[in-house]
Symmetry: C2
Subunit: 375 residues, 2 copies
């Protein structure tokens, strides 16, 4: 598929300047608040041809294109964004911003706390998916967006999509949530707990105040390993490493390593180089706290919270997803149908697990384009 959004341009905006402050769901406030984002395509004069793309845990604003022709890898959803693709930049103005609490240009624990002149570190306030969405709304307002064609994302990106649909039901014509649930489950929190504790255990974490050092790289790498296992599938591992897993070295020596161990270590090293461990902790907590129902109705039920949805929804499940199994999307779809909402369900048939929404572009282009064309 063609890649024509080159160069991609990293943009930056200070959305909140002192004395203004961003009030978080916790009641705490933040100032200043900056956001890094990218846009592809052109906003029309009515301001209503925009699409917001929401990234997952370790994603960032660089969703499409290359900064220069020499860049080896384009943005993370490049196969879905561009002329003639599902998020067609000839028709739509596509926006992706780094989330609040992130470490890729938007205010987060690595940002300087103006009160101390030092990075916030572990003193950064706990942020939620709703806080991320609130900041995205400020960004869209500042860009002149009046209404979204759709808001789309998978995993943590899907959580943002669902919060958008509940919080700003009239601001969009549709919403597309992939590989996500309406509320985090104990198992999802448990996997995050393992990663979190590994980071905390790393002596280099230093209570969250490790800057300007490299920080808890091994803890972060272990957290990434847990994540990686749950983002893929047993089937994929068998396909990649074979049912006779390879071992490098003497199997009876402590130096010997299975190929899967080397692979996980390599994935960890890649993440260590581009991601901040504190930010990882904050985003894990934001995901753990994901609950469409919290504080919204007397019962706190996510089912009741969906009552406010007035947009057309496309819910995408992945049949090999071990982290957000399809019953969680089915639950949402059934609830939305019971509430007489307009909802479509698409089940992605793929052996690649949770990460399929970052891999199965051909089928996703079809499904998303068809949904948007029928709006």
């Amino acid at each position: 598929m063609s890649e024509s959004i080159c160069p991609a341009i990293r943009r930056h905006a200070v959305l909140i300047k002192p004395p203004d402050r961003l009030t978080l769901e916790s009641g705490l406030t933040l100032s200043p608040v900056e956001v890094t984002y990218e846009t592809y395509g052109t906003l029309n004069s009515a301001g209503d041809n925009a699409i917001l793309v929401c990234h997952a845990l370790t994603g960032d604003a660089h969703a499409a294109g290359r900064y220069s022709p020499e860049d080896e890898i384009p943005g993370w959803w490049d196969d879905l964004i561009g002329p003639g693709k599902a998020l067609d930049t000839d028709r739509y103005y596509v926006i992706c911003s780094n989330v609040l609490g992130g470490c890729r240009g938007t205010t987060g624990p690595t940002s300087i706390n103006p009160l101390t002149g030092q990075p916030h570190g572990a003193d950064f306030p706990i942020v939620t998916i709703r806080d991320m969405v609130k900041l995205q709304k400020l960004l869209l307002d500042s860009l002149g967006v009046k209404r979204l064609v759709t808001v789309i994302g998978g995993s943590m990106g899907g959580m943002q999509v669902l919060e958008w649909a509940v919080t700003y039901p009239d601001f969009m014509a549709s919403a597309i949530a992939m590989a996500v649930s309406a509320i985090s489950t104990a198992q999802q929190i448990a996997f995050n707990d393992v990663g979190r504790r590994a980071i905390w255990l790393d002596p280099e974490w230093r209570g969250g105040h490790y800057y300007p050092g490299d920080g808890p790289t091994e803890g972060l790498s272990i957290a990434r390993a847990v994540g990686t296992i749950t983002y893929k599938s047993d089937h994929l591992w068998n396909e990649r490493f074979g049912r006779r897993v390879e071992f490098a070295g003497d199997p009876f020596s402590r130096q010997g390593r299975f190929s899967i161990e080397n692979y996980l270590a390599y994935q960890g090293e890649k993440l260590e180089r581009r991601f901040d461990a504190n930010s990882y902790l904050y985003l894990l907590r934001a995901m753990d706290l994901h609950n469409l129902g919290r504080g919204r109705t007397a019962s706190g039920s996510w089912e009741e919270a969906l009552e406010t949805v007035s947009t057309r929804l496309l819910i995408v499940g992945i049949n090999s997803d071990i982290l957000y199994p399809t019953y969680q999307q089915h639950e949402m779809v059934c609830t939305l149908r019971r509430l007489k909402k307009e909802v479509e369900y698409f089940e992605l048939d793929s052996p690649y697990g949770h990460d399929s929404f970052l891999i199965e572009f051909k089928i996703m282009n079809q499904a998303v384009a068809e949904f948007l064309d029928n709006l």
Copy 2:
């Protein structure tokens, strides 16, 4: 169900004394080698009514009964072992021993290295499932057992069962392997890798020489958390913690904890008190190296290794097992049938995941008793 094996008696034997040495699969040797075991029932004069029970990763020799009537909890398979139960102690002489490399009375990293007068720690040699089985055979010989009615176990216990069937095919009338595969998969090794790295990361691990200190308790607790997640099922967590997971404290405070986090921490603390972290590392490695084919045939294939099996096999799979999914048992059964071996397959229908073989006693008693009665 009645519990009548009281008191259970912990027994101990020095099976190898210097200058004799136990030669391991690695070619390294160990001496002395001691084993802790328990027996229930009486060996007949022919020595052929014995059943060997093999324990899983954190199990031990205490499979049934109570040491005193005040003991709150009986042995780990008490519901399966006793008069009138599937492993009927009125008929059978049941033996369970702590594995080589363990920390519950059998020689392992906590044992004193006679060369240094200190615990072996991380200088203990890497041991394999075959080494464990070799030591069990020595124990059975020393007890006067001539032939086994069956050898039975789940998970790491099931690995031992399979090695028994391949290594000593004429020594048993049957073998029962539960929730296990013929060779470890990349995903199983990956989960173990996370636990292993967490232990290594703990500063209290001290390169494996932490005795007489408590050692890497938090690292071990994290390893246990990964294990616990994979031993249960999403369904079980939802049943126990609800689809609206509870949170203790202020959700926006770092002190707040989800109930699943408290549960995992509690499970970790329980294990820390009774299990050695080095032993945990050695047993994880033994499981990672589990491969019925290693060194046995020119191809190294586990399928060909099964050719030597001459006993009747019962393979048990659990339909909610996320760690040893049923396709792994199906593979073995299909291979055994292709090789014209006598094999039965029983699929345990349970929502409780891998640990079901430690939980679903009613159905297991039926299935195991029926299999043994038909021998």
